[in-house]
């Protein structure tokens, strides 16, 4: 035993230090939420991971991305099952990863420096590799994928090193490398491979260069062979997740890139993540984004502000630089220059990559992002490339500490004693590892929580006592601003809690929710029973889970503020309380409109509208049985005969300039850039030349020409203004007059071109010309013509512009009025016929007059319209001003002397509406301010910035009250330290409810439907369904209620239906046009799952072959 301890004491110490997670979780605590991904039943999760389709998340999502987690999350499933406790299972999982990270670094150093004198190096590097702030930031969510990468990094490095230096044979290296990348695969997340790719590439490059210098060019071919072998081994053994990843890359890369905001969005995200990744912070092994500007961070502020800790943070980098400076003075037999240069190079590379887009070398990273396809995978450079820096720092620090100690100290006992100093220092410096406070990432939200008993009970009930194909709607709805699921007891995550606990489909308004889900919530909030039942039926929802312990991310809004949702729901017909578990209640929804996962629709509605109208469309057609809604935008490039199946056609009328203050906002957005060259510059002809070329490029597209004319008009105005205002004595008046003439000609040209366009685009371009003119007018009003050089021209131009603005607004442009009492629409009919007109949101505001093409309609039903574009006008009473002025009025001066404020309450405010606050103002004195204040518990103070100048300014603001808010008021007050306070003059101060009527037209085609086939189905697994069709007499549409995805394919007798006949239905589901008579079976299959099967076969065959080969070689005594 003593011998064993003496021999393996270093490993035993690493093992003991790996037990620090036992300090983290107290009785009953578990890690759950945020991005931790822990589940109540890890084995069930692994089983689900086997499939490429996850039907738990709303109506199902592709999750090919997570196949690699099958290996990475396997340990926790084992530990959870073995201990029978989630908490103990998690603690053992943490210790497992802790040990794995430490032992992998230890293995590397031990293999390269096995002599006894290097024990300080071995231990300090292993411990520093386990205890550092880069990993600690991952520990609060137990980021197993990151740990896996950290663990594989030194091992892969070692295998490459040993193979390239010919210590391992190519075959042995190939097998080892493949096996470690199988077991430590970084969760199969390619973005985590950034660090590995850079490190291994540098290692190959460096060692091959040195080998070539020593042994000639044949080393290059040897390295190339090794590289290709290693890469192939990696591909084969990881085929089970790589095939799916490749499928995603080739099919969904562009869409996922655009959903992240495209390259530009990623670059701006980079600037946020790497804001603090400066070289100086990275030298100190800091720069972690979460540390900065975060007062709630439990330990970061100590390290950023405490002078003692600031000094300590420089120790590793000082050791590295001092070591490198003096490394030639260390005895030749103790140092290893080859490795030193390899790691120091890596250190400098790691610094550059970890800094990402941060200056001064950020442009290199941005260049790679912009020019190398797929490099955007490595966004958040700090996190993706940080392991390079930490790995090399840890190695170099340990190496130099050891060399310094054995160089400076000669006494062996002293060396042994002093050798523990760096180890103790590492542990003390990283003290947050021992108190577990790092889990409290934003109090009261934490990843370390006590899971309430009622939550477990409710989950167990649903998992054990309800059918598998259940769809459960979450109430209250998720926080609409973050779409996160958060609770009073500390849980917070974008990965919803019920989805971590329940193996059923959980429907909620998360980030990827289709519009039908927000329609369902809207129906509940508006107490609209019929719409709720129809939409819930269409979505296949049969249970509702009410949670009374919800706490929104604003840390104020709770379930009690949202209780109206539960009250309305409980009163709906067919909705009944099934079971209550303390704060969680399960409601049963028994709707006659319920539709199964697979059905054949009787009433097909074809809608030329936005998907958000789904609720209105269904609510309108009460009698439609087994309905199916086809939106025209979902049928682009699909079988055109689909329209002919429609029983009813819906056409949405487009409201023109209906957003509040839309015209003003567009006018203010007209940007007039400053001119770089003026007409009297010798280079001005270059501008003219460029403009001619641009004109040639656009000349065949009238819409682009009009845009171009308006843009050029802006340029001319900028030139005009700069020429008039510049301080030069020489002001050629003729050139200025010429600019006026050019400007007028461009505007006239735009108007002329617009007049030649078809009706709908003509109106659109005239509106555009109008707000350009208004913006240009505002721009010209700021001209300072001190020498009266262009007085006549300016007067002339003002009259020209005023006439045009008045003429366009009053006579030519078809758009809603600014006063919001006239709403103007256009609608385009393909066919003439009798249409019914439907108006949404007319309960409070009934239109006074409805006119189409200037003819007043007497009724909404049975109106005959010809084919083509029509103009609809709705006249309403002007919206009421909701402000309570008391004795004051909406205009006048507000005296805000010190300590005095003016409070104006808003009447009848509801959190379901949006309001427009608008007024004009001029500051008379001081610095007045405006705040919007909610009085109740969930209210907040929103301070509004007013332009601090002495001009008349226009102000408008859209107010979306907090959930549950009802008493809100405006408060004018005086800001700053002005002795006499402030005074402001206000005109037309008003708060109005924003109300935009939705209008659509419906035409019933009264088709006689042939008898529909009978259909039934059975689920084979999550990615495969078998549908039995009986007695089909003609073509029909088959609806399948999982989320629409091109990966879903239907086939009859192994003959797949073409993608042309596969389309999106009901705004989320899959539909196929089937044209086969008789009785038969249809197989609906999620095709990417086949790649998973293939991948698994390849991976398993490779894995077992390698294991057998390894055993065989070991048996034969491999070198």
């Amino acid at each position: 035993m003593k011998k064993f301890l003496f021999k393996y004491w270093e490993i035993i110490l690493i093992l003991l230090l790996s037990l620090s997670p036992f300090l983290w979780l107290k009785e009953g605590e578990i890690i759950l939420g945020h991005d931790s991904g822990f589940r109540l039943n890890p084995f069930q999760h692994l089983f689900n991971l086997f499939y490429s389709w996850n039907s738990i998340s709303n109506f199902g999502v592709d999750w090919s991305l997570y196949k690699g987690f099958l290996v990475t999350q396997f340990p926790e499933a084992i530990f959870r099952t073995w201990t029978g406790s989630l908490a103990s299972g998690e603690t053992l999982t943490f210790s497992f990863w802790f040990f794995l990270i430490g032992i992998s670094m230890y293995t590397l150093v031990n293999s390269l420096f096995p002599e006894k004198k290097y024990w300080i190096f071995r231990l300090s590097s292993a411990i520093f590799y386990m205890y550092n702030f880069f990993l600690l930031q991952g520990w609060f969510i137990a980021e197993r994928a990151k740990f896996s990468i950290f663990a594989v990094l030194p091992l892969g490095f070692l295998i490459i090193y040993k193979t390239l230096t010919r210590y391992y044979s190519p075959l042995k290296g190939f097998i080892f490398f493949s096996l470690i990348t199988f077991f430590l695969n970084g969760g199969g997340n390619p973005s985590f491979y950034g660090a590995l790719v850079v490190i291994y590439f540098w290692e190959f490059f460096y060692l091959t260069s040195i080998n070539c210098l020593q042994n000639g060019l044949r080393e290059f071919f040897y390295a190339l062979k090794i590289g290709i072998f290693f890469f192939i081994g990696f591909l084969l053994i990881n085929a089970y997740w790589l095939f799916s990843q490749l499928y995603l890359f080739f099919n969904k890369y562009s869409s996922s890139l655009s959903s992240s905001g495209g390259i530009e969005g990623i670059i701006s995200w980079e600037s946020v993540v790497n804001e603090h990744a400066s070289f100086i912070n990275l030298f100190r092994l800091q720069g972690i984004p979460d540390w900065y500007n975060n007062l709630a961070h439990t330990y970061a502020n100590n390290f950023l502000n405490n002078p003692f800790l600031i000094f300590l943070s420089f120790i590793p980098v000082l050791i590295i630089i001092l070591g490198f400076l003096f490394h030639k003075r260390f005895p030749l037999e103790t140092r290893n220059d080859k490795l030193l240069y390899l790691f120091f190079g890596l250190y400098l590379i790691g610094l550059m990559f970890s800094a990402g887009s941060h200056p001064p070398l950020g442009f290199l990273y941005l260049f790679l992002v912009q020019n190398i396809p797929g490099f955007v995978l490595f966004r958040s450079a700090f996190y993706k490339f940080g392991p390079i820096l930490w790995f090399s720092s840890v190695f170099l620090t340990g190496y130099f500490i050891n060399l310094f100690i054995i160089k400076l100290l000669k006494n062996r006992t002293l060396i042994n004693l002093v050798g523990f100093v760096p180890i103790i220092f590492i542990l003390l410096y990283h003290y947050p590892y021992f108190n577990g406070s790092f889990f409290d990432w934003n109090k009261p939200f934490s990843t370390k929580v006590h899971l309430p008993e009622y939550v477990q009970d409710a989950s167990n009930y649903i998992n054990l006592s309800t059918p598998d194909n259940l769809r459960i709607l979450l109430l209250p709805q998720l926080d609409p601003s973050f779409h996160a699921d958060s609770y009073t007891w500390g849980f917070f995550s974008l990965d919803l809690l019920p989805r971590l606990l329940i193996n059923r489909s959980v429907i909620a308004n998360d980030n990827n929710a289709p519009v039908i889900i927000s329609n369902i919530y809207e129906a509940i909030n508006q107490n609209d029973q019929l719409s709720f039942l129809r939409l819930a039926g269409l979505a296949g929802i049969n249970k509702v889970l009410w949670r009374d312990d919800v706490l929104y991310s604003d840390k104020a809004t709770q379930s009690k503020n949202l209780s109206a949702e539960e009250i309305y729901l409980s009163r709906f017909a067919g909705v009944s309380l099934e079971k209550q578990f303390d704060k969680w209640k399960i409601y049963n929804v028994d709707s006659s409109y319920f539709l199964p996962l697979v059905y054949i629709p009787e009433s097909i509605i074809y809608s030329q509208s936005q998907e958000s109208l789904l609720g209105d469309i269904l609510g309108n057609d009460v009698n439609a049985s087994n309905p199916l809604v086809l939106f025209d935008n979902a049928l682009l490039n699909k079988n055109q005969s689909l329209e002919s199946f429609a029983k009813e056609i819906i056409i949405e009328a487009t409201c023109i300039m209906c957003e509040p203050d839309e015209l003003k906002r567009k006018e203010q957005a007209v940007y007039i850039p400053s001119a770089r060259l003026l007409p009297d510059s010798p280079f001005y002809s270059l501008i003219f030349f460029r403009e001619q070329r641009e004109f040639e490029a656009y000349k065949n597209n009238p819409l682009q020409i009009i845009d171009y004319d308006l843009g050029l008009a802006n340029r001319r105005l900028a030139e005009m203004k700069q020429m008039i205002e510049r301080n030069s004595k020489d002001k050629p008046k003729e050139l200025i007059s010429e600019l006026f003439a050019k400007y007028k000609s461009l505007i006239n040209d735009a108007l002329k071109m617009s007049s030649q366009l078809p009706d709908d685009s003509r109106n659109m371009m005239l509106v555009k010309t109008l707000y350009y003119l208004q913006g240009q007018y505002r721009f010209l009003s700021l001209i300072e013509d001190k020498q009266n050089i262009a007085e006549d021209d300016l007067d002339d131009l003002a009259i020209f512009m005023q006439d045009l603005i008045v003429d366009l607004s009053n006579n030519q442009v078809w758009m809603s009025t600014v006063s919001r009492d006239q709403f103007r629409y256009t609608f385009n009919l393909k066919n003439e016929g009798t249409y019914d007109l439907y108006l949404k949101e007319t309960e409070e505001n009934q239109p006074l007059k409805i006119a189409v093409d200037n003819k007043e309609l007497t009724g909404l039903k049975n109106n005959f319209f010809s084919a083509g574009i029509h103009k609809l006008n709705l006249t309403y009473s002007p919206p009421a001003n909701l402000l309570e002025f008391g004795e004051g009025t909406s205009s006048g001066r507000l005296d805000l002397t010190v300590g005095k404020t003016v409070k104006l309450p808003i009447r009848n405010l509801s959190d379901q509406n949006t309001y427009l606050i608008s007024f004009n103002y001029k500051i008379i004195e001081g610095r007045p301010g405006l705040a919007i204040i909610g009085e109740e518990e969930v209210g907040s103070v929103k301070k509004i910035r007013l332009e601090q100048n002495s001009l008349w300014n226009a102000f408008s603001y859209n107010l979306n009250p907090n959930r549950g808010a009802s008493d809100v008021y405006l408060q004018f007050y005086s800001k700053g330290f002005n002795q006499y306070g402030s005074e402001i003059e206000i005109k037309d101060l008003k708060v109005i409810k924003i109300f935009t009527p939705k209008v659509f037209l419906a035409r019933n085609l009264s088709l006689t439907t042939p008898p529909l086939p009978h259909v039934s189905f059975q689920q084979i697994n999550q990615t495969k369904y078998l549908v039995h069709v009986q007695n089909a007499n003609g073509p029909y549409i088959l609806n399948f209620g999982q989320s629409y995805d091109q990966g879903w394919r239907a086939s009859i007798l192994a003959q797949p239906l073409t993608e042309n006949n596969h389309f999106k239905t009901n705004g989320y589901a899959n539909g196929w046009l089937v044209d086969k008579k008789g009785s038969y079976e249809i197989i609906i299959e999620y095709w990417p799952q086949r790649l998973v099967y293939l991948g698994f076969i390849v991976s398993l065959v490779t894995l077992f072959s390698f294991l057998l080969l390894l055993i065989f070689k070991l048996w034969r005594g491999l070198k």
Binding site: I280, F283, P307, F314, Y341, G345, L351
Partner: protein
């Protein structure tokens, strides 16, 4: 007395060094002046910040005067030792600039050492 002697020796050494490297020093001085004027020009001033200028001049000095490897590391070390104080006084942007300079000095120093190492390898091989 000894201190005085040391000072005198140092000044003699410096004088000797100056005389030996007159031309190189003037060249560096001339290029520095030129770069300074370039850094005042529009557009170029965006790229030629004072720290970039200092790094370019340092690279020139390393090449022209054939400065030894440790020179870059010593300067980097001195600069780095000043950073904790800068950070304590909350001059974070200055600390960042110094950090950038340290990085480039390490890069220069490493490149010098590394190429020297590669030369030795080649020499040994030959």
């Amino acid at each position: 007395m000894a201190r005085f002697k040391m000072k005198r020796d140092l000044s003699i050494k410096m004088k000797k060094y100056f005389l030996e490297h007159q031309l190189s020093l003037f060249l560096i001085f001339f290029i520095s002046i030129l770069l300074y004027f370039l850094s005042q020009l529009p557009y170029l001033n965006i790229f030629l910040s004072p720290w970039v200028l200092a790094i370019i001049i340092w690279i020139l000095a390393v090449i022209i005067l054939k400065l030894c490897v440790s020179a870059s590391f010593i300067v980097a070390l001195v600069l780095l030792c000043s950073v904790p104080f800068i950070l304590i006084f909350k001059s974070n942007s200055l600390a960042e600039e110094v950090g950038n300079a340290v990085y480039f000095l390490l890069l220069i120093g490493f490149s010098q050492t590394f190429f020297a190492y590669l030369k030795t390898l080649k020499f040994k091989n030959a």
